[in-house]
Amino acid sequence: MNELYAWAAIGIIILASTTGDVLLSYSMKRVGDVEKLGKRRGMLAVVGRVLRTPTFAPGLVAMGVAFYSLLFGLSWGNLSLVVPASASLTFVANALAARIFLHESVGRRRWIAALLVACGVVLMAV
């Protein structure tokens, strides 16, 4: 039963962290290159602009949900299952979500990179 809970937690971690990453990435693209903006208007103005972007706060909340699901997942399942499974599948889910929702051009090069890193993470953690 605990294993089922652990996999449920892994599913929620992947969903929440992918949602968070996509929302934060979307927000920052809307804000624009912070280095150039910072030079023109000062860093405080950039921080204000980031905080005012409507998708930023929901992105942070999603990241928080992912973090707490990881803590719960770790109390139900083994470290050697929960961490590599959620981390490696998040790389793949992010590549899919970035293509669908952010319209990033995820070509062969980026797919290979995401899969190599995902496999590498699994090998490092087992």
């Binding site: 990453d21 990435s25 809307r30 290159d33 992010n94 990033e104 070509g107 990179a113 490092m124």
Partner: protein, 146 residues
């Protein structure tokens, strides 16, 4: 990609790895903290390792947000995954932990993935964001186009 931008990517890798490690060390030194023992959870913040860990994670978040403002998510995530390798190498060279052949293979795969993505373009130009209603409002990809 300028040298400064590569520095920001390196910052993401180093700050997140060091922040996580310090946080983990601090929480282990503190022992069990439960929700019932709420004051313990609040006191955890003033433990030196935990404080340092939180500050480093804040630095990580600032670098991460900065990188996402000028590069694609599918570029930033793999490009900064060397943290896993960093932890293993530090454990090997400073604490003399043994790295199994599977872990060496994992290190190789992650390094190859990082090399693969870093050699490619870092941001999708707006004319390639087909069907995206946001591309015309997205200042980053427009700058790449112009």
């Amino acid at each position: 990609m300028t040298f400064r931008k590569y520095l920001v990517l390196a910052g993401i890798t180093v700050f997140s790895t060091a922040g996580d490690s310090l946080l983990a060390r601090g929480m282990k030194e503190l022992g069990n903290v439960s929700l019932h023992n709420f004051s313990g959870l609040l006191l955890a913040v003033v433990h030196p390792s935990v404080t340092a860990g939180i500050l480093l994670l804040l630095a990580f978040f600032a670098c991460y947000m900065s990188a996402l403002s000028w590069a694609d998510l599918t570029y930033v995530l793999p490009a900064t995954s060397l943290g896993y390798v960093l932890v293993a190498l530090i454990a090997h060279f400073s604490f003399h932990e043994v790295i199994s052949p599977e872990r060496w293979l994992g290190i190789g795969l992650i390094a190859a993935g990082v090399g693969f993505v870093a050699a490619g373009p870092s941001v999708t130009p707006s004319h390639q964001r087909r069907g995206s209603r946001d591309a015309d409002r997205d200042s980053v990809s427009q700058e790449v186009d112009s």
